[in-house]
Symmetry: D2
Subunit: 192 residues, 4 copies
């Protein structure tokens, strides 16, 4: 493996919003990605998560599902830039777009449109015991829906959730001032 954690500036991003490095790495950790894992990245955006996952699952494979053509193009560019061969871009909308994929060991949900419950049903049906779903929630409604789902399916999943807030110090002359980054909730379900 090359080293852990790619800097934000290294990715090709266009105008698609991108998860910050710190959140990207914490997501990988919560997903417990192992070298041989099959990983689904749903709502892959720029592909920054997919690339990071592909490097951690060097003998596995990552499927990046994205419905937005601009995102699909960016994922392909980032795949090429970082030379990760074990990454396949799937253009389409989840959960339908997940149909043809091999079953997964880990799943990351960065964006779910309004289909979160259907996507979680599909992942749940096709994930091995001990596998992990990580849902990055930037809205209260997505967070509440994720918690609702995992609570309603407690036979299938245990879960944990954290809120992460990061302030970056910015040098202004002789002073360092905190610049706040919008917080995010990371919800993790583990398949029983």
């Amino acid at each position: 493996m090359t080293r852990l954690g790619i800097e934000d500036e290294a990715f090709i991003r266009g105008k698609v919003p991108m998860t910050k490095q710190e959140i990207r790495v914490l997501t990988m950790v919560k997903a417990r990605i192992s070298p041989t894992d099959v990983v689904w990245d749903v709502g892959a955006g720029t592909g920054s998560m997919s690339v990071e996952a592909a490097r951690l699952a060097g003998q596995g494979h990552v499927y990046a599902v994205e419905r937005n053509p601009e995102g699909v193009s960016l994922i392909k560019q980032n795949k090429e830039k970082f030379g990760v061969d074990n990454l396949t871009v799937v253009e389409g909308e989840a959960p339908e777009a997940l149909n043809g994929l091999p079953d997964c060991d880990a799943a990351i949900i960065g964006g779910s449109g309004s289909h979160l419950s259907a996507i979680l049903d599909e992942i749940s049906a096709r994930m091995r015991t001990g596998g992990r779903i990580v849902i990055n929630c930037i809205t209260i409604q997505t967070l509440a829906a994720a918690l609702d789902y995992l609570r309603a399916h407690e036979i299938d999943f245990s879960y944990e959730a954290i809120q992460v807030q990061i302030n970056r110090l910015q040098a202004v002359g002789a002073y360092d001032m905190a610049k706040a980054i919008n917080p995010i909730y990371i919800v993790t379900g583990e398949k029983k």
Copy 2:
């Protein structure tokens, strides 16, 4: 490499305070630890950082410096538990205890007693260009001292710093309540 990110419960810890998983992983990322790196972990505590670093620097070596005998014992136990051979425990106080070690590619400072400036001088003198020092600061005074040092040595270092605050959701009956974890500053200096 085995997978990234060890759970807190996996470590043997006694009563020594231990950095939480999320902070441990972010520290590794900021240190940009590579497979062949020599890493100094100063104020290693339970050795949780050292073990995590030793797994990332699988072909390199980690030196865990700790003055507290209880800590030294815990580091040895954790080294054994995780089977990391490339980890050497050094009992003693920095900066003196750093004297005999090979030069480093990365350094982590979890505790510095009141010798932060002297420790940073020693690291600075013996770290390669592009290497990184990561200082975890739980007090305002250590944070201010770290920023002061890096600003005063801007010929030798560039730096960045973040504050990380994590709230863990706790299930209480039908509800999830946020439980706050004390925030920490992570200051990173890169050797020019």
Copy 3:
């Protein structure tokens, strides 16, 4: 008026959890309590909010609704301690307990059991235009329910919401360490 903001230690509290001073004052501000207001404090707990409101609404009146007998007793003790005559304790469960009260200018919801929607219906029916409901949410589910209600009743209410996180610095020898306090969401609805 006497001065703004009572210290936490000044209240009689028993084992009932009490909102911290900072949150108490922000709640008052969001409720825009004026000197002549009638205020309902639903789930009044120790009565710390009620006392603070009663001092701000010196020519108005505050009704503290609480179902827990221990809470009722504490509210009465705090009423006496702070000498606020314009505070009436109502033992009972909302929304039923609200029936006999005069209509309100402002309402504070510190605890709602599982009746949030019915309580908001009652307040909505009996609050003047321009009046404000402030809901302190310590769980994601209450937050989500409050937002749902206010969104579903956008003909009747505009709303705003903040999350407040406070870290208190604690002196430990020559150092100041941050001690995190659990965050809270403050949701405010304004009657159109």
Copy 4:
């Protein structure tokens, strides 16, 4: 007294940065401003703190010290807009500008240039026992300097400090997303 807490939008502000309502009110509370207090507002900026303080100290007086002419003009406009007669604008730089003022019961420091220590000396010499200094710190260096001063003068002062971080929920279609506001430290010294 009119009601507590003026909305941000109500102030005339130009391009001068202004403390947010939540921080403004918490600052008032920490300063324990009473109706008859003499208050110094050092580095008054737009005067938003001064106006809020003048309403709380209705039978007292507030002196707003500001060196920036644009700020001075804004303070005068806000004084007029809110009709607070007990507010005097003092153009000049602290600590010199404090010379002619009557001794104070409370002091607020929103900006100190680089003269924090000299300003605190002057306030200390001219504040009554039990009076309070509140220092709003947006930089680590100001925070560290404030703590250093209060620790070095523990014969004269006790102190407390909090960090406040607020996230404002923003409605985006059917969702509420957290938008982070830069955190601030509020340091309070009480004259022994």
